[in-house]
Assembly symmetry: D2
Homo-oligomer: 281 residues x 4
């Protein structure tokens, strides 16, 4: 599918680690739809991941930047504007990480230095990206900024830990800065609340497979894939959605507005059969 939806558009993609990454898919699809992109990631991610391959494949440049570091972001914005010959059209923020999750710290026993890190990497970085873009006047009028979120920002999922709080903060930053950047430059800022997705980050969450199954059965259209998420992102970068801003947009096959599906309940009910057959468990 290509309607050249982004013909002539230019943007920065944060967070394309490997082929599983949503950001990877967005970069690929954006180019298919006529856009030019600059890729960026932390030095660490560049060593561990395959972003360089993607840059090669898309015939574009890759500029290292730590999204928690304002100086590096400033450098990124300036280099990107140099590359594109001026201001550009869109930014994708697909960044999240919790040392508390990684180190197995329970939510009732958080390490507060780790929590600071979770919030800084997963949420405050979004503010830093936007503030730096704006100070450089890096985005064209009617530009579009998108960050990826998860429904844990609204509802508690065991094991998602302090990432839930980071996502709430992230969505709030989208609203707060959406107001400022919107009234000044008509730049819109939104978050996409995506189905659980088997990216490298996603798979790190406790009990991820079971959650995927439950989420799949609860969602009338099933979980949304990374590919589908990329397509949805493109609509938000396009000129067809110019008055959508400060929103958190669920891209999840309907999960967010389900209370209980027949399919999930039928599966759940089998557990009672199991209990009957294993009364001493």
């Amino acid at each position: 599918m290509s309607s050249k939806l982004l013909e002539g558009k230019k943007g920065i993609i944060f967070g394309a680690l490997n082929e599983l990454s949503i950001a990877w898919k967005v970069a690929e699809r954006a180019v298919e739809e006529g856009a030019e992109v600059v890729l960026t990631n932390t030095a660490m991610a560049l060593r561990m991941g395959e972003t360089a391959k993607l840059a090669e494949k898309l015939n574009t440049i890759l500029i290292p930047a730590d999204a928690t570091n304002v100086e590096e972001l400033d450098h990124l914005m300036k280099e990107t504007m140099k590359h594109f010959g001026g201001p550009f059209d869109f930014i994708l923020h697909s960044i999240g990480m919790s040392p508390n999750v990684r180190k197995g710290r329970h939510y009732s026993d958080l390490d507060y230095n780790y929590l600071d890190k979770t919030l800084d990497v997963s949420a405050v970085s979004f503010h830093k990206v936007i503030q730096t873009a704006r100070k450089n006047d890096a985005l064209k009028p009617w530009g579009s900024i998108v960050a990826l979120s998860y429904v844990a920002a609204q509802r508690t999922f065991y094991g998602y830990n302090d990432m839930a709080d980071a996502k709430s903060l992230l969505e709030s930053i989208a609203r707060s800065f959406g107001y400022i950047y919107g009234r000044e430059k008509n730049v819109r800022i939104n978050t996409i609340s995506q189905s659980p997705t088997p990216t490298t980050a996603g798979q790190g969450v406790k009990g991820f497979d079971y959650l995927m199954d439950f989420s799949e059965r609860m969602s009338p259209l099933g979980n949304a894939s990374a590919d589908e998420c990329a397509d949805y992102c493109l609509t938000l970068f396009s000129d067809y959605t110019r008055k959508v801003t400060m929103q958190n947009l669920f891209h999840d096959g309907g999960f967010s507005n389900m209370g209980m599906s027949l399919q999930a309940m039928q599966q759940y009910n089998k557990s009672f059969e199991y209990d009957k057959e294993h009364p001493f468990d």
Copy 2:
């Protein structure tokens, strides 16, 4: 527990069918807390239920009224004011019924006369009660009106059918009329979104027991009982909550803000063990 929270307050209770009814519990507890109440129900419900017993027990009167019939509501308001010697303090609306559910009509094959009935009985009746109360100037300043709702107003539960739409309408009426009655007479109007409760009506919903189990395991505090709901209602009738209005208040042990609990997931996961042991099911 009695703090005489409602000392000197007077009100009408709609929908006390039998001991399982939330309205029944509210009536009992309101009286324990110092209130006087008038009971009301449809003629049909009075025949089938035990409201008369409750009136006797609480030493009060029972005035038949069909909440979808404005004339009967008008009569109810006038008689209640006569009984109380003037305007009173609170109203509980605990009414809901779907002929589509009763007759097993699927949501994709609704009978539209039945749907009209569902909406009229379960939602529009709330408007009729309030409009009639206001026209009779039946409520004192800072009076309080509460209706009972369910989270299906926000999220879809299979089998809950057109009652979900009725609850959405009900909650909207609380907001719309809360504005009007609030600015004029400081009367507040709220809905309580209660856990699934094994009342006579609740038990009519398809797969109710399984839903109760899931809801119980998802809610950190477990499902809220009818007794607990009654206590919560009382706070909304009391003078401690005078600035709460136009709200839908979840009284559900936390269910509404849960995405997935460990307990529910552990139970769910057993279903896969069952599947392994019964590969040909």
Copy 3:
């Protein structure tokens, strides 16, 4: 702008009365983007409006149908399938009307026959359209249904009257049926919550111009126009949004997530200067 976003898609458009109508714009833009459409409206609207002109301009057919009448809808679905040679891809529902608003009945003095009419025309009609489409198996897998809503479904606007309740009901129907039609046929159902728009219907609302001004100043991107709404609709009919369902999507320049903008407040504050200069008003 045309990316042939809807190349090969076919659909029905309800509610294109005249050039001011959002549905009118959607029809025009859908065709520009490669779609074929069938127009429909009530016999009354066909007499009063200019839908026939649009049909001529778009070189398509116009099939009269009252969206509250299941038989007429059935006829519409069958004729449309005949016209298109089989099932089609999308439906736009842009229908709303309140006799209480028209006749100046205040929300605290509703005529309940009028209220039934408001709910039937503005909300239940959406269920009827979908149920009839589904019974005729009129939509292809991954089809898309959109209805137009307004933020009054969530928040009370004086003068919007019983239309607020109708919009709540409408959005609930989108969720309820979105579950059913999604799990069966992957058809998605969403509502777009649009800025106040100076259509023939919109202008009928009390104090509409002032509300437009306030809304414009509150929204960082200003009010969304009918043209912009049409573009946004197209994304929801396209294949780029296949996993978005059961959602209410705000297309409003950010209004829905604003509490107070500087611009609106500065305007508001002038009113106090006026008060100072006119102390006896």
Copy 4:
């Protein structure tokens, strides 16, 4: 008004700076209703405020603690348990501060060290309080924890700056920890989203008086006062609300669910008269 709603209950009150503080009112009213309280505040606040006077008046103790400092919180919990002779029943968190607001840093020019401070003081402190309480097993089963929030967590108010993001984070922590502490000990955790209140902190917000006026005219019941907020808090500490958890509860005279009131619009409209009379402004 006193129903001895909190007879026998014991709790800690954070944030009673002076008579304007909501926490001050909660402490006073809790004692009137039969509770015992321990007061706490930072050393700085104790020097600048009048908490010591309140402790004297209520005949209780005051334990200094910086809510961002886990060691001091640990000391506070231990001392409070010593004072009460064991675990206690409730905690009020009424703490918020933004150096960015104080120093006049615009939201598009945040100092990120200040932002860290805003988040730590206004939101993460809530996690620290709860985590420390839980590690000390300081709360009885069915205990209740409340923090104060503001609707800026959901909607953007110009000038509220990074406090909006802090409040979103705060409300998320209430949900996340509400799940954990609820399932383990039946402790409930909620936030109250209160009307703008002329406390020492509130008055620091830009354009506060005008916002108060707008909010007053928008809310059908008018703004909620600190006294009324205290009453509402008490219901959440009482045994009447045991199944309410993980919620953000609006105590705001209806503001949160208003889109536009007649009263606010009439005032707003005068600004256009002003414009007509001052065409060259």
